[in-house]
């Protein structure tokens, strides 16, 4: 599966970078010895957000299909895991995995929606996401209705969640690279560039997107499961709400759609900003992100990653002459105001 040729990836993704990443992971794993509980929990939440954003990016960035309804999978995973945890029959990790699996299986049924292109797909996902939320809100037997579910979480688990979440993040990052460098990634790039020409060389966009969605949904469902354990209380309007779906979009796009560093940066920024903005200007953050989104689309389509790249190039970093890895679905605006 791994191409031996130069599927060009920037140098920071080389074996050296991989080693660097592992070192960072190890360092983070040891961090709790030095931090207080508040930071500890904040980091856990950040790791979960990063995983969610990376998973969303597989569809939105790699496959170029922007989904405004991913919260449906997130919530499905969360509630499946929560139910299993409440039943007390399986260990936590098994419950989370079950959540991820459930989401992946449901994603298989999304095939008809995947045949839609671009904007149609995106709008359909708004509908699917909202329909799922309504369904979950009133399916009291499963989700506890609007009151949601309370999980009795052992205090040690909440602490241990730090490492589980870190491991999940590792999996998400590794998964992102694997997809990006695999033949799936190659095909997705081709589809993003020219879906018809891709078909003319034997690439079925529907199938590749099916695969990507299953992976993306599974990963985000898994994240939902851990999230449920982390908060030990979940309810449908939060887990499957439009705002939740939006948060994945924002994290990935602001960080850098289609890149791997992007969702990572975006999620970190998102969590931090939310924490601090929530204290002082509780309702400003969506508008802030809206404005950021606009600025990014118009000026720096690769978001924060793009800004970093610009900075790096100033210092002599040589990247691909073309756009950065995973050629963003978002094209940069030309210098002069061009006719659309």
């Amino acid at each position: 599966m791994r191409p031996g040729i130069a599927v060009v990836v920037p140098s920071w993704a080389s074996p050296r970078a991989a080693a660097g990443f592992l070192v960072a992971l190890a360092a983070l794993a040891g961090a709790p010895a030095l931090t207080d509980v508040y930071t500890h929990n904040l980091l856990t939440l950040t790791y979960l957000s990063v995983s969610g954003a990376l998973a969303w990016n597989w569809m939105g960035g790699f496959a170029g299909q922007v989904s405004f309804g991913h919260a449906a999978f997130f919530g499905l995973g969360g509630f499946v895991a929560a139910r299993l945890l409440l039943a007390g029959t399986v260990p936590a990790w098994a419950a989370w995995l079950a959540g991820g699996l459930a989401a992946a299986v449901v994603a298989l049924s999304a095939h008809p929606v995947l045949r839609l292109r671009g904007p149609y797909f995106s709008i359909a996902t708004i509908g699917v996401g909202e329909a799922a939320r309504v369904l979950f809100t009133y399916w009291e037997g499963f989700t506890g209705g609007a009151s949601g579910l309370s999980l009795p979480v052992a205090p040690e688990l909440k602490l241990q969640l730090y490492w589980w979440a870190l491991a999940l993040l590792g999996v998400a990052v590794a998964g992102s690279y694997t997809i990006r460098r695999s033949t799936l990634g190659l095909k997705l790039l081709a589809i993003k560039s020219d879906v018809e020409a891709a078909a003319d060389v034997g690439v079925s966009s529907a199938f590749q997107q099916d695969v990507t969605l299953v992976l993306s949904a599974g990963m985000i469902g898994l994240t939902g499961g851990l999230y449920a354990s982390y908060f030990s209380y979940i309810e449908p309007n939060d887990m499957l709400g439009f705002d939740r779906s939006i948060s994945f979009v924002l994290m990935a796009v602001i960080g850098g759609l289609g890149t791997i560093l992007g969702p990572l940066l975006g999620a970190v920024v998102f969590v931090l900003v939310r924490q601090y903005l929530l204290a002082s200007y509780p309702q400003l953050y969506l508008g802030l992100y809206g404005a950021l989104l606009i600025a990014i689309i118009l000026f720096e389509p690769l978001g924060l990653t793009g800004l970093l790249l610009r900075l790096a190039r100033r210092f002599g970093y040589r990247d691909r002459p073309d756009l950065a890895p995973g050629a963003s679905a978002v094209k940069p605006a030309p210098a002069a105001a061009e006719r659309r």
Partner: protein, 248 residues
């Protein structure tokens, strides 16, 4: 059995009949030229055969297997590949990556490693120097070769070439023509080529079919086609057929 059999292939767009009940046969190892005035429906015909467009009626068989009605990617897997009149490389992939994507299908058909297949074809089409470049950095001639390499990477039995020589200077055209001959000779691939550059299509083709207004109006050896009054008329208008001579 002919490699390709096209029977009564028709495609209508609303009131316009772009391709009108075309019958064709291509033998194994043959090069069939397709010519005709602009708007005659040649590219549409290719799109129908390759599965990019669904026919309104008519059928296409490849080696006895029905391929009409299949989506494009399935047709590729069956063994038909096409190039586009206006080249469509994947802008976000390097030359080698472009060919690699196609080689995934090709390796599935023929076996072997996609990477090796891609590298070999990049070499065969003379693009080794440019393997790591992006299409935007290539000249038109090189982009046409890339288009060709990509199509070849799918290991087709039948290759549909849509005006690959047009737009090239004489030297480049010569090279490409030689390449096409080599493809047939060495790889055993049958070729159908749409072309406006008459010297090229005349010398390369074993047979030529002529389309006008969606219909096939003539078919035969190049020399015979050149003298065919119906063909001359299609190109030059009524009355021109009176003076026999080679088409422009």
């Amino acid at each position: 059995m002919p490699l390709l059999r096209v029977e009564g292939l028709t495609r209508r767009f609303g009131g316009l009949t772009a391709v009108d009940a075309v019958d064709l046969e291509v033998a194994s190892g043959e090069i069939l030229g397709v010519i005709g005035p602009n708007g005659a429906g040649k590219t549409t015909l290719f799109a129908l055969i390759a599965g990019s467009l669904a026919p309104t009626s008519g059928r296409v068989w490849l080696e006895g297997e029905l391929v009409s009605g299949l989506p494009a990617h399935r047709v590729v897997r069956a063994g038909i590949a096409r190039t586009h009149q206006i080249v469509r490389p994947f802008q976000n992939l390097t030359v080698l990556e472009n060919v690699h994507v196609a080689a995934l299908a090709g390796a599935r058909r023929k076996g072997g490693a996609p990477v090796a297949l891609a590298e070999e074809l990049v070499h065969t089409t003379g693009l080794s120097e440019r393997a790591r470049d992006y299409p935007s950095a290539l000249t038109l001639a090189h982009r046409k070769r890339l288009e060709l390499a990509r199509a070849l990477a799918t290991s087709p039995r039948l290759l549909l070439l849509d005006e690959v020589i047009a737009g090239l200077n004489p030297a480049e055209a010569q090279q490409l023509a030689a390449l096409i001959r080599e493809i047939r000779a060495r790889l055993g691939i049958s070729i159908v080529m749409i072309e406006h550059v008459m010297p090229a299509v005349m010398s390369l083709s074993d047979r030529i079919a002529v389309l006008d207004h969606g219909k096939k109006i003539a078919e035969g050896a190049p020399a015979a086609i050149a003298r065919d009054p119906a063909v001359i008329e299609a190109y030059l208008g009524t009355g021109a057929a009176a003076g026999a001579g080679a088409p422009p």
